[in-house]
Symmetry: C2
């Protein structure tokens, strides 16, 4: 199995598309890199780039993107709705195939070391790569943003970077580098116009208020359709499976006499997450992904190569 890592760097530029073009081009100069998606939000003034690469190339590609971002983005001149602390704000590495979370943590550390030694950008490690429990949560790491961290980092031990000296890069700020499982944006639609029901069910399913450990959820109204939605981030689909969240929401909705009328996956989903759904509902005995024709084929082709 090839070792494939997904990397989803977030850059603090969502208005000048030529800048994002140049960053993406820099990433793609690294052979073996495959761009899966790029999205820019002008209000957030932020872009999210999604690419995959072999494990031995992914750091080089991420550093190439961060180098170009440092050249082109000056945080002193940046404003937008989304909180940010670096030209390259955050670089998460996600294990996709033939690779463990531990490998991705090592990759994150290697990336952090290179951001400092090659670009002079200090780095906080976060999520699974965090070196302190309080740095697992990205929002906590980024608190105060570029300006606040710039002022505190020189004197506060709590703010000391994992790589680099205790000062932000003058224009590129500081970057959070981490490892995490794949995230799935998953919404369940309810056949009612009453948004209170969606909010109550979101409360039941999400970790924050006592629900499943790896689910973040909010209740929304979809005005154009006259329905409501439980909108979720499944932050670890192997820990909390899609079908489990779906079944709980269906059961909670029954309590209000409301039907689930559909669900939707927004963006990308790993194949394994869907296979787990099929396995659950068909009550499969002894099923192995090696029985999937395409899986066997991919492995056989790699053996041949």
């Amino acid at each position: 199995m090839r070792s494939i890592v997904e990397c989803i760097p977030n850059f603090s530029e969502g208005r000048r598309s030529d800048v994002v073009d140049q960053i993406v081009a820099a990433i793609r100069t690294v052979p073996g890199t495959v761009l899966l998606d790029r999205e820019s939000d002008p209000n957030h003034n932020r872009s999210v780039v999604t690419f995959v690469a072999p494990a031995d190339r992914v750091v080089t590609a991420a550093v190439a993107g961060a180098k170009k971002a440092a050249e082109l983005i000056d945080l002193n001149k940046h404003s937008g709705e989304h909180p940010r602390m670096g030209s390259t704000d955050v670089i998460p590495f996600v294990p996709i195939s033939g690779i463990t979370m531990e490998d991705c943590i090592a990759i994150a550390r290697s990336c952090g070391e290179r951001l400092w030694s090659e670009l002079g950008i200090p780095v906080y490690l976060y999520e699974k790569a965090a070196t302190r429990p309080e740095r697992e949560n990205l929002a906590a790491v980024r608190k105060g943003q570029f300006e606040g961290i710039r002022d505190e980092i020189t004197s506060s031990e709590a703010r000391r970077p994992d790589f680099g000296e205790p000062r932000v890069h003058a224009t590129a700020g500081i970057t959070a580098v981490g490892a995490r499982p794949a995230l799935i944006a998953y919404n369940v639609n309810l056949g009612t116009g009453n948004v209170q029901i969606a909010k109550k069910i979101a409360n039941a399913v999400r970790h924050q208020s006592g629900g499943f450990r790896y689910v973040k959820a909010l209740g929304f109204e979809l005005k154009d359709r006259g329905i409501v939605q439980v909108s979720m981030n499944m932050v670890n689909f192997e820990g909390t499976a899609l079908f489990r969240a779906f079944e709980l929401i269906k059961r909670e909705a029954q309590r209000y006499g409301v039907p689930v009328i559909g669900s939707e996956i927004v963006g990308l989903v790993p194949q394994r997450a869907l296979n787990a759904v099929a396995d659950f509902y068909l009550q499969l005995e002894n099923f192995s992904e090696n029985q999937i024709l395409e899986h066997r084929l991919a492995e056989a082709i790699e053996e041949t190569e």
Copy 2:
């Protein structure tokens, strides 16, 4: 998308493993061919080889296997429980990716033409490649087996081959070449020891007795587990989906107060068949296979190449 075809030739030899080795080796001499499986049954005296190959190579690989089988297997000396009419008894082509059933029918015709012109083996086209309705069913095509067809083919218009003169090859007989959808062996296990219930439910689900068009089914006892099983061949999973057969069996079992305790997929299953299960149970809205990370990755890599 690469055009990938699966080919599952059946050879009339299940006892001499060196013979099967040589046939498999001949198939593998064709570049791009990937062997997925081989199974020999001594009682049936028959072997089933499963391989995939690019559309432009799959016929060459199948003919190479048939040539070696014609050299090594003499049907006049063959006996076994399974009906057979050729050293290479049957060659089905199955569309896997980037290819239609119509393409596979053309591939089957090309294969039939070459078996006759290069090896002197006449050919019946069957299933989706059939040229007459009565040849869709392989069992009907093979009726009388090698000996019966040898005696009738010279005089019976109904027995006239689709390729070749109306006489069997003296030792290699005649081969059925066809195109068909992927077949999934799928069993559902019931929490009862009463085999009559499995037989009744098999009757309800299978095409032959009024059930789903693309399901063949039988009821069996699994003595070692003290349970019974509805054992199915899903002969066209896009026409009759796995989840639909599963749900019907679950409902029929309820009528007897019997639970479904599990199901099992035997051998290989195309990824699309499992994705359809996830789509159904999660009630997904507007889901596309392009949202599957591995799918997007495979396409992006091919574009790069």
